[in-house]
Symmetry: C2
Subunit: 137 residues, 2 copies
DNA sequence: TCAATAGTTGACGTTTACGTAAACTGCCGT
DNA sequence: ACGGCAGTTTACGTAAACGTCAACTATTGA
């Protein structure tokens, strides 16, 4: 890390520790053009921007997106509002992503509702079967 | 499918068409013990239960879960409330799943919020740059 | 000075989730 | 009787996302 703290920078190990991934993984993302750290000599140096990108990448992963999809998402985050055509294109891509995310959320809500139902049945069964059993903890 | 409609049943092709997957995929899920269709002779025969399970499997896939995780989820859906210990265990597993799903939903909401922000910037930029350009559609 | 620690580039290995092809069976309309 | 279609098993192939060496370099504290 930076010593006196000017602009923050991180080593690959720093980020690996912070986000709980291996350095191999981080290098792989670079190979896939998801990250592009600076270099001090031969060593990779990550700034806040790369750190944010890594955070976004991992969020995408948690949502089950592929590297290719994550690349698209990152593009959305980064597109510099240049020309109007670009902007409209960007808006379209955003709409697309939003649709995917919302249908995914619907799936989650559905599953959560299912879980709630099953749990309710459980609680009821527990209450009926052994109402006298105290918690062990 | 059943002709006169007694209890519904489906061929592997029926389900493949309905859910937009290949028969290979469905057989693979059987190999992984996610499905266990009956057999008429050598041919697989799927009932409503298997169809529901396939639906759940694909929902799990859309949420980015692995086969192993989906197996666990299916277990939750199916556990027959037998003994109290089983029930408590089930409740615990439900809680676990719920936690995962809720954090995943948080990720989605965060991303949706990001998208909304970016889109707002886009609309603003569009309004500033070319307010006179009518939509082409 | 030296060993440990963290970094680097290959390059091959591995797991997951199927795709794909081969070879066979059973039924169905003509 | 026969071509075609849907189904079956077996088995090898594959893309994605890393894991896991190996071999080397640079820095650093004792």
């Amino acid at each position: 890390m930076a010593d006196g703290d000017g602009i923050q920078e991180y080593s690959i190990g720093d980020l690996a520790r912070e986000f709980g991934v291996t350095t191999r993984t981080i290098r792989y993302y670079e190979d896939e053009d998801l990250l592009a750290p600076a270099r001090r000599g031969q060593t990779r140096v990550y700034g806040p921007r790369e750190r944010v990108r890594l955070r976004l990448i991992l969020r995408g992963k948690r949502l089950g997106f592929s590297i290719a999809e994550i690349r698209e998402i990152l593009d959305i985050y980064e597109t510099k509002p240049g020309e109007a055509g670009q902007l409209r294109h960007l808006v379209a891509k955003i709409a697309e992503r939003r649709a995917m995310l919302e249908s995914q959320r619907a799936d989650i809500d559905q599953t959560l509702a299912d879980m709630a139902k099953i749990e309710a049945r459980c609680e009821q069964a527990l209450a009926a079967t052994g109402p006298g059993e105290r918690r062990v903890s």
